[in-house]
Structures are given as C-alpha cells and as structure tokens.
C-alpha cells in the first residue's frame, strides 16, 4: 500500500491540533504518520495510551486531541487495558451487541519508560496471550515527561538528570535494553523498527502491523527536543541521522524471518552526525575513549541486526 503524499495531503487529522506537545515534537510527527497508516490501510483503531508526555499533552479535560476511541488508565498497564478492550469488543460482537463490520486493531502506545521499564510485564503478558493488538513503543530514550531521567532505553554515556554525566560517573554506564528482541522472543507474527524521517518505510510497516492478525510490535525512535537537548525543528533530521549513522537500524520480523529494510543506508555516516547537535552527548563528544566505546556499541548492535537479517 504505497503512499502518494500528494493524494493524501490535506486528509482530516485523527490527532488534531490544539494539543500541548512541545513545538517540533518528534512523537507528534510519529502519531501523525500512525494515523496516515491506519487510514490508508482502512483499519480503525482503539488506542490505550500509557501515562507519559503523549498522554498528558493530548487529553487535558475537557479537551482531547484524539479522533479515535482513546483511553488512559495508568503508566504501566496500557497493554493490560487494551487486552480488556479487545476481549470486550469480541465478546460484545459475539453477543450481537456490536454490529459493525469495520476492520479494527487494538493499539497500545507508550514511551520507553512505559514500555521498556515499568510496563514491561504488562507488555509481555499481552504479547504472550496473543491478543489482536499492536503495541507501539515510542522511544525517546529517557523519562521525558518527568524531566529527562534515565530509562533502560537510554543510550550509553547519555547525560540524564538521574544518571548525569559527572566527573566520576560518565552518565549512563549501561547499554540500551534490546526491547525489540524481547518482543520478538514472544513468538509474535510481526515486529518492526521505524524512524519518523523514513515515512514511507514507517507507514508501510505500521500498515502491516495493523493488518496482521494477532499481537504486533513497533519500536519507533522519536526525538525529544528538551530531553535530547537539541535544536527545535530538528526532530526529523535527527531521526534521519540516527538511521544514516547506523544508530537506529530499520528491521522487520515476520513469522520467524528478519528482514533488513531497504531504507537502511548503503554506507554509514560518522556517528557524530547523530550526536553533535544533542547536548545530552556534549560531554561524551569531548571524551575520545568513551566515544570509541559508544561507537563500538552502536556498531555491534547494527551488525547484530544485519546478521539476523542475513545481510553481509
């Protein structure tokens, strides 16, 4: 289902303006692309949103930016809540209380804090049970809503408010948790990583994740202006640099087979192109030794996924 931007431009937004997300927010761009995917795929969605910046900025009573059914319960339980919605839908449909024949996918969405950390158990449970859900982790690599604290998705040596880059400890000293691998290990039929710059790749993957029956998983890199401490207006260009430097490999996993996305670069650009404008890496960039370790971590992750995809 290829997208012709000119044909769809101007279509009614399902995530409407007036929301209170930061100017230039990468998550807002992602949500826009999510809805383009759902509308062009002809799939209606119900969204369970974990507590986080997307949730609070879009649902200030008595207003809401969402034009699809939407619910928020708490931080760690969006996958459990959507499980209940999904089973309720099929129960009521079986009893003839819901009559429509629309195609529906039940979507839970949470940031990296909700997905990698506090909600990991709930996510695992929902994936294991095999609900007809799509789980989306919008990954901005820290707890941004509470002010840029370290999560298990925070990259090595990044400067966050709870793992600050100090004189003794150089920020986060652990590597990112590989949530994609964890999701895939549940034996789900479809999973993919996406980046907001590569919109065609992103929309095609989400269309697939919405149409495949059963639990599917999308991991999206969504730059955060204040958290990454980067120039306003650079969310999309940094998402682009993340892919072009190999920081964020684009992959798919479908029925047991990994696939290397064609949007991945032929030749990797220097990692500095991704790091340079982000002040969370300012101190790392001044430390050649640590920077080398950081590069090794990026490359080993990149090579790991290349290998899984059978790409030389």
């Amino acid at each position: 289902m290829a997208i012709n931007l000119k044909q769809i431009a101007g279509m009614e937004a399902a995530y409407v303006k007036g929301h209170r997300m930061c100017a230039g927010c990468g998550v807002a761009v992602f949500v826009r692309e999510l809805f383009i995917a759902s509308k062009t795929a002809g799939v209606d969605v119900v969204i369970a949103n974990a507590t986080g910046c997307l949730e609070v900025t879009s649902s200030v009573y008595p207003e809401s930016a969402w034009k699809y059914p939407w619910l928020h319960v708490a931080f760690e339980n969006a996958p459990a809540a959507i499980s209940g919605v999904e089973r309720a839908y099929y129960a009521l449909k079986a009893k003839g209380k819901i009559k429509d024949d629309r195609k529906v996918k039940f979507v839970a969405i949470g940031g990296d804090g909700a997905s990698f950390d506090i909600g990991l158990q709930s996510l695992s449970g929902a994936l294991e049970r095999g609900h007809n859900i799509l789980y989306i982790a919008y990954d901005n690599e820290a707890y941004m809503n509470t002010g840029y604290q370290r999560s298990s998705a925070t990259p090595l040596y990044a400067d966050t408010t709870t793992a600050p880059f100090g004189k003794k400890i150089p920020g986060k000293t652990q590597t990112r948790k590989d949530l994609f691998a964890i999701a895939v290990a549940h034996g789900i039929p479809y999973a993919a990583t996406v980046s907001i710059y590569h919109w065609n790749d992103l929309i095609t993957k989400i269309q697939k994740a919405l149409t495949v029956e059963g639990p599917t998983f999308i991991l999206s890199l969504t730059p955060c202006i204040p958290g990454w401490n980067m120039p306003v207006g650079d969310a999309v260009s940094l998402a682009k640099a993340a892919v072009e430097t190999g920081y964020w490999p684009l992959v798919e996993y479908e029925n047991g087979v990994y696939k290397w996305s064609s949007a991945n670069p032929k030749q990797l650009k220097p990692i500095e192109e991704f790091l340079a404008s982000q002040k969370r890496f300012a101190k790392l960039l001044k430390n050649p030794e640590l920077l080398e370790k950081f590069k090794q971590d990026v490359i080993s992750n990149y090579e790991k996924y290349k290998k899984l995809c059978g790409v030389a």
Partner: protein, 95 residues
C-alpha cells in the same frame, strides 16, 4: 458562604472524566510562537513533506496545493522549514 456537602447535588462534568474526541481545537496554540513560517510560493513544489511532518497539523492544503499556515495553531517549531527540500519556507521573528 462556603458550600456544605448536603447542598451539592451534582456537577456539570462528564462522570469519570471522559472528553469528546477532537476537542483540543478549542485550545489555540498559535500564541506559543516566537518565529513564524513564511512560504515562498515560487520555490514551493507542493511535495507535501511539510504537511506530513507538521506536528500541529498547521499546513493548509487544498487540492494538492500548499496554501500556507494555520497561525491559530502553528507553534513556530520550524520543522517544516527544515524538512522542505526546496527551502521554500523561511522562519521570521514574530513582532
């Protein structure tokens, strides 16, 4: 006088705190802006990349033509200007 519990019957709020979808249109965010995007029509090729990427759905499009910006909501983030392949959008300070 302060309200005593017994005097209160109900409130005009939605029980449980639900809201009607799409109502954030009530909240105009144009006041956040310190720079405003300006379109150079001659350079614009109507590729719609700005429309795709605008976090605030503030690119005004009709019949495949980029017409300008919805300044009621545009937060002035400059994302459109940055992603524009023909550099048709410039950011100018708000006065």
């Amino acid at each position: 006088m302060l309200k005593v519990d017994k005097e209160i019957v109900s409130f005009s709020i939605n029980p449980g705190g639900y809201a009607k979808g799409g109502t954030s249109l009530e909240n105009k965010t144009g006041g956040w802006r310190s720079f405003r995007p300006v379109l150079n029509k001659e350079k614009c090729v109507n590729c719609m990349i700005c429309w795709l990427n605008c976090p605030d759905d503030s690119i005004v499009v009709k019949d495949g033509q980029m017409l300008g910006f919805d300044y009621d909501y545009c937060k002035g983030c400059s994302l459109c200007s940055n992603v524009c392949p023909t550099k048709a959008i410039s950011m100018v300070p708000e006065v």
